[in-house]
Amino acid sequence: MRQVAAFFVTVALAASASAQLPGLRRRAPVPPAPVLVGIDALRADFLAHTGADTIFFGSDGVVLGPPAKATLTAQAQWLLQHPEVAVRIEGHADSNDTRDHALAVGARRAEEVRQFLVLMGVPAAQLSAVSMGKERPGLPRAQTILVR
């Protein structure tokens, strides 16, 4: 028993000694660059860096408030770093609106967001805007959806 224990101690000492020898230290492999291929991973990264993919409007409002502009500025920065990612902006109206007016207001909200992102330097070709009217119930909002 004692001999076995001594053997283990010897091995342990030898291992730690070799790790400390200059010139023999093995290099850890370089961590790979974060290649985000899957759309879900891209969306998670987008959310983590921008805080929100959705901005909200007042009832019947189409104007961007300061919080919305802060969120969209962060979205624009992320999109500039990911020129390969295409984005669809969906504008929504709430169920208190009437069907066709909701379609128009949703379109204006999506367009407002699209124009702000273009103003921040995002290439227009990267962006598309569509109105969902009041077909997806919820608050008046515009959502930036990564599609590719």
Partner: protein, 431 residues
């Protein structure tokens, strides 16, 4: 003089309840007869079809809520010559003001002749007659035409029996929701899906004769108006090669033009285009949202909604776009106007703190009357009679159904369709 809104609404409700108490005319519908009972396809005989047609006519007339129909009974059979020489005293004693007689006859070519006569029982006088040669399995349309004759002679308004209803049939919720355009006869028969389950579709609008439907489709990503011919099945975008969002289509009364809304640089305006193609012509240019255009029955004017004043209100203009002026001046917001077929009234969706409700007003904006209780009633479309409206009601869980409500009062009634339904549109009488 000013009324606060809470006082105004009960007054309007009371007015409509009083109007509902006017006596309803009674019409007798004894069974149609046949000169000689012959086979008429699908195992039926002319006498059997005559019996079914009589029941359908009585059901049509009862469904309007505008008259009482005495249902056909076996004991009321009459002979073929009595079609044009009825025994008026028999019906007078039962309190009937009107009488409908008729016949179904087999033709040598395998088709049927259906004839109907409507009489004033008190005066013992014929009010009108109508006759058709139809395919044996098309007798329902002939019966609907008979109902239309009786309704028009007794009320002075055209009937809504030989008309079609288009609507959006929907299943599922949220992103899993599937919407399809469906078309059916106004009594629910001949139900058919016009679009496949695929891109989202909205707001079908039938041509006045009910043979074409314009609707909004998300095919390709951008919502745009498409037109489908229901007889041939041919379908195409209203504006070929257009990338702009277009929506809210409506046909002109003669079916030759379509008005619609299109978004251009953040502004939504009303345009008109030939229904068969061509370049659209812009009618409005005010900043804001101009939409839900609806032609007057003579085609000379267009009613629409605009939020140019800061809130949704109703406006009228010449069909050329000239002379735009506001017509709604109530306390709330007004949307989705539809011009009645008789030219007298505007149906609208009222947006208020109490939700969305259906109402009517005169063409000059006077005489507003809210007809439904809400809180999510919208998108009225007139019946050909100008006495009834069809609309969408959404319940608190988000499920929607199709309802119809009569102008002369009474609660809205649900229209039976196979799935949840919304955005109904009612055609005029078919050819």
């Amino acid at each position: 003089m000013k009324f606060a809104v809470p006082f105004l609404v009960p007054a309007l409700l009371f007015a409509s309840a009083a109007a509902a108490q006017a006596p309803m005319p009674v019409i007798a519908v004894p069974p149609l007869t046949t000169p000689n009972d012959k086979p008429a396809g699908n195992g039926a005989t002319t006498l059997a079809i005559a019996w079914q047609a009589s029941q359908l006519i009585a059901q049509d007339l009862r469904s309007t809520g505008d008259m009482m129909a005495v249902a056909p009974q076996q004991k009321d059979y009459y002979s073929y010559p009595e079609v044009t020489a009825p025994t008026f005293s028999r019906w007078r004693s039962k309190g009937a003001k009107g009488l409908l007689t008729g016949f179904v006859q087999a033709r040598s070519d395998g088709r049927l002749t259906v004839g109907c006569y409507v009489y004033d029982v008190d005066k013992g006088r014929e009010l009108g007659r109508i006759g058709f040669a139809v395919d044996a399995d098309d007798w329902r349309r002939a019966a609907h035409k008979c109902s239309g004759l009786a309704y028009e002679k007794l009320t002075g308004s055209p009937g809504t029996f030989d008309t079609r209803i288009a609507y959006v049939a929907q299943t599922g919720f949220g992103d899993a929701q599937v919407k399809r355009i469906a078309v059916m006869d106004s009594d629910g028969e001949n139900h058919d899906y016009v679009t496949e389950a695929g891109p989202m579709v909205l707001t079908p609008r039938l041509s006045p004769r009910g043979n074409r439907v314009a609707y909004v489709s998300y095919l390709g990503g951008t919502p745009h108006v498409r037109v489908k011919d229901l007889d041939s099945g041919n379908e195409r975008p209203l504006l070929p090669n257009s990338l702009a969002m277009s929506f809210a289509p409506r046909f002109s009364p003669d079916g030759s033009r379509v008005v619609f809304s299109m978004m251009n640089a953040g502004n939504v305006d009303i345009y008109v285009v030939n229904a068969d193609g061509g370049l659209p012509h812009r009618l409005t240019s005010a900043p804001g949202v101009d939409t839900e255009a609806s032609f007057s029955p003579d085609g000379s004017k267009i009613l629409f909604e605009s939020d140019r004043s800061g809130s949704q209100q109703l406006y009228v203009m010449d069909a050329s776009g000239a002379n735009q002026r506001r017509v709604s001046f109530g306390g709330g917001w007004y949307a989705a106007p539809d011009w009645s077929p008789d030219g007298e009234k505007i149906a609208f969706t009222r947006r208020g703190a109490d939700g969305l409700r259906i109402g009517v007003m005169n063409i000059d904006g006077s005489g507003q009357n809210v007809l439904t209780t809400g809180p999510r009633d919208e998108g009225p479309s007139w019946a050909a009679s100008s006495r009834e409206l069809i609309f969408t009601r959404t319940d608190p869980t988000g499920r929607s159904g199709i309802y119809r409500v009569a102008l002369n009062g009474g609660a809205a009634r649900k229209v039976t369709v196979p799935q949840d339904g919304s955005d109904p549109d009612w055609s005029g009488t078919r050819d």
